[in-house]
């Protein structure tokens, strides 16, 4: 009977199904299997996967490590605030701090070379959004995420914060240079 009334048969499991439904279920099931398969496939054959490398870390410790990198590899400063621009060697550990409302320091990487990028937040949660590539990652205080990045195009990139972090959220924007 109608969907507002109990089914005609007492046990709904015994209601028959139409061929059109069966055909669609099989198609939808096959498509679901493909959707599922694509994720492990990309882990094996794709080049854009998040590593599972992450650590708990305190704000002080992350700041200390970032400062060590800045002290070693700063090549110049930019803006009135004299934010250091860091040019680390290929393959090295690169740290980027997210805090209210700034990314620190500025990074300068080389095209085609790989770096171990460490991301952590010192206070609230922030969102790492690399523009215009549109790569977006969650940055969580107390956790350090490590990913290996390989820039594939030279130019000036922006890092926008795309996790709401209070009244200065829309002012949290920075640069990243690829030479």
């Amino acid at each position: 009977m109608s969907a507002l009334l109990p089914p005609a048969r007492r046990v709904w499991w015994k209601e028959p199904l139409d061929r059109v439904e069966l055909a669609w279920i099989l198609i939808a099931f096959a498509w679901s299997a493909i959707l599922f398969f694509m994720m492990p496939y990309w882990h094996v054959f794709g080049k854009q996967n998040l590593s599972n490398e992450a650590y708990r870390i305190s704000a002080e410790e992350f700041t200390k490590r970032t400062q060590t990198m800045v002290d070693k590899y700063t090549v110049r400063t930019e803006t009135d605030e004299k934010i250091p621009v860091v040019h680390p060697p290929e393959g090295s550990d690169v740290y980027l701090i997210a805090r209210l409302w700034q990314w620190w320091p500025l990074l300068e990487l080389e095209n085609g070379k790989s770096y171990r990028l460490h991301l952590s937040a010192l206070d609230y949660q922030h969102g790492f959004s690399l523009q215009p590539s549109n790569i977006n990652l969650q940055v969580v205080p107390g956790y350090e995420m490590v990913i290996t990045v390989t820039p594939n195009q030279a130019g000036s990139y922006s890092i926008v914060c795309n996790e709401y972090c209070g009244i200065g959220h829309h002012k949290m924007v920075s640069r990243l240079y690829v030479k």
Partner: protein
């Protein structure tokens, strides 16, 4: 109790309303609409602020408004209306009394007090933390307290619903299995109980943290458990609005489910797998393994997507079968062309179904794919997606149902039927455009929850391309259009209660009558369609959907393959 007006039978529909249930349905639906009105005004302000050339509100008011808009719409409007749907699907459809009406009123009171408390907290200005209230960003304790009270009230509503099912079973008001629509509502209620429990597990400690009793809440733990509440509450909506689609197909066309077995199994898949999707929000987080992400984000092998794709076929399929039986058999689509497009109960439901599938469903799978999430996470694509699922899917379905409930439940003729006729089109297509251009802007990297995409006053601003500004301008325009459509709904519903002519077609009785035993009819009723299919037109529509899905899915992989190497 010995009132001779205990039950009211609405003659045109034959529905039987228990007096207590009737009042509770009215009260819950009414306050749902009140919060929809508040949320709608806020929606206008948010749209006009994100429209770059208007940029209406200052930053603090924008973030405050956005916080209130999210909670008033996603939580208060929808859950109030859902409790009304639960009572309707149990007491009214099963023709029984509502269990423990006094406790149901207690639940209602808690929900109302909670919703008001949280709104007061937000509008005082010290709780602009967005709907998600991610720790360690803190809100005023009353912000969390209001949400907890609301959740407890809603939980009571769910148990009253379950109790009413027991009443119906004991009083033998129906035979055999529950009607499909009630079965779907039961699915929603089970999901709701899981959801609210998750909400309690995270919001109670967060409340204790906000008053200084607990020292620290781990932000990653918060995200994991909060989304078991935040995402699952959207799954209640899916189960509820799919039930409403089935109900409307039955109300407008007398359509019966193509197969009870298929539709119900799809609902069972929702119960088993839908909640895993809270992982969608954690795909770009540190500290969770890829195995965990893939298993959960895919609802284990996309079984919940499968279920939605099944409903997407069986709801219009049931309509097609009913229409073909009435003789609309020409070609593939006469049944659809000759559907009552000027009846907002139908048009709203159909616009809801198509938009939910094509815009909400497909974009949801994109965002929910582990790697593809990286090029979407936290961009304005995300609200683009959920406005397609929750607004086009849930809100529009509930609006359509309202046009049926105005005469049947509120006993008023629809006021301004001309406005009502156009309302689903203005609101629905406004929202289609809104969702689409938001997704477009998100693809260009525009962040969500962001006051100023021009980064004025910063030392190193990012310059979004002109196309992103164009998209955000269109977000503003289509947002205003959708708000007008929402305003038309408020005008018609509130106007009908105030000025609509009374419908006097009810009889009253002290005792209810059970659902009459239906004769065992031929279930599918022969093949009225072609190619051995009962619903060939629907099947071709489903194939169009699949082709769009496949193409868009692989376009996104193609785009992902061009960005930086990440490992």
């Amino acid at each position: 109790m010995n009132d001779s007006r205990n039950f009211r039978i609405d003659t045109p529909t034959g529905l039987q309303y228990h007096r207590d249930a009737e009042l509770l349905i009215k009260a819950n639906a009414f306050f749902g609409v009140v919060f929809l009105l508040i949320g709608g005004v806020l929606a206008l302000l948010v749209s006009l602020t994100r429209w770059p050339s208007v940029h209406l509100l200052p930053a603090d008011w924008f973030y405050l408004t956005l916080t209130a808009h999210g909670l008033d719409m996603l939580v208060f409007w929808i859950i109030f209306f859902e409790i009304a749907v639960l009572y309707f699907c149990s007491s009214t459809l099963l023709r029984c009394r509502l269990a423990t009406p006094r406790i149901a009123w207690l639940g209602f009171a808690l929900m109302l007090i909670g919703a008001v408390t949280t709104n007061v907290a937000i509008f005082r200005g010290d709780s602009s933390v967005m709907m998600t209230s991610y720790v360690p960003m803190g809100a005023h304790p009353s912000f969390y307290l209001g949400l907890i009270l609301f959740a407890v009230g809603a939980l009571i509503g769910c148990f009253v619903f379950l109790g009413t099912l027991v009443v119906a079973k004991n009083d033998k008001t129906y035979e055999g299995s529950l009607p499909l629509v009630t079965f779907g509502a039961l699915t929603a209620s089970i999901i709701a109980i899981f959801t609210i429990a998750s909400g309690a597990i995270i919001l109670i400690p967060t409340f204790l943290w906000s008053i200084g009793y607990i020292h620290q809440i781990d932000p990653l733990m918060y995200r994991t458990i909060w989304w078991a509440f935040g995402h699952s509450s959207q799954q209640i909506n899916v189960a509820a609005h799919v039930s409403v689609w089935y109900a409307i197909a039955a109300i407008v066309f007398g359509a019966k489910p193509m197969s009870e077995k298929v539709s119900r199994t799809a609902f069972l898949l929702y119960i088993a797998f839908l909640q895993l999707a809270s992982a969608h929000h954690l795909l770009s987080d540190p500290g969770l393994s890829s195995e965990w992400k893939i298993f959960n984000t895919s609802y284990f092998m996309y079984f919940a997507v499968l279920a939605s794709m099944v409903h997407g076929l069986t709801v219009p399929g049931a309509i097609e079968v009913a229409q073909r039986k009435k003789g609309y058999t020409k070609g593939l689509y006469e049944w659809l062309r000759r559907a009552p497009w000027s009846n907002p109960v139908f048009s709203g439901m159909f616009i809801s179904l198509i938009g939910f599938g094509f815009l909400g469903g497909i974009s949801g799978v994109m965002m929910g794919t582990e790697q593809l999430n990286m090029i979407i996470h936290n961009t304005i694509y995300v609200p683009g997606h959920f406005h397609a699922t929750v607004v086009i899917g849930t809100t529009l379905a509930f609006m359509s149902l309202t046009y049926f409930l105005i005469p049947s439940l509120f006993r008023r003729e629809v006021w301004l039927p001309g406005v009502a006729k156009w309302q689903p089109y203005v609101f629905g297509f406004g929202m289609y455009a809104f969702a689409l251009v938001m997704m477009g802007a998100g693809t260009l990297g525009v962040p969500r929850r962001h006051w100023d995409m021009s980064f004025a006053g910063t030392a190193l601003p990012h310059e979004f391309p002109g196309s992103a500004y164009l998209m955000m301008g269109l977000v503003g325009i289509s947002g205003v259009l959708a708000v007008i459509g929402g305003g038309m709904y408020i005008l018609v519903t509130v106007g009908s209660l105030l000025f609509g002519r009374k419908v006097e077609s009810s009889t009253f009785a002290q005792k209810g009558t059970p659902i009459p035993r239906a004769p065992v009819a031929a279930t599918i009723g022969g093949h009225h369609g072609g190619a051995g299919f009962a619903a060939p037109g629907t099947f071709t529509l489903a194939i169009v959907f699949l082709v769009a899905f496949v193409l868009y899915y692989f376009i996104n992989w193609k785009y992902l393959s061009t960005v930086w190497g990440i490992s």
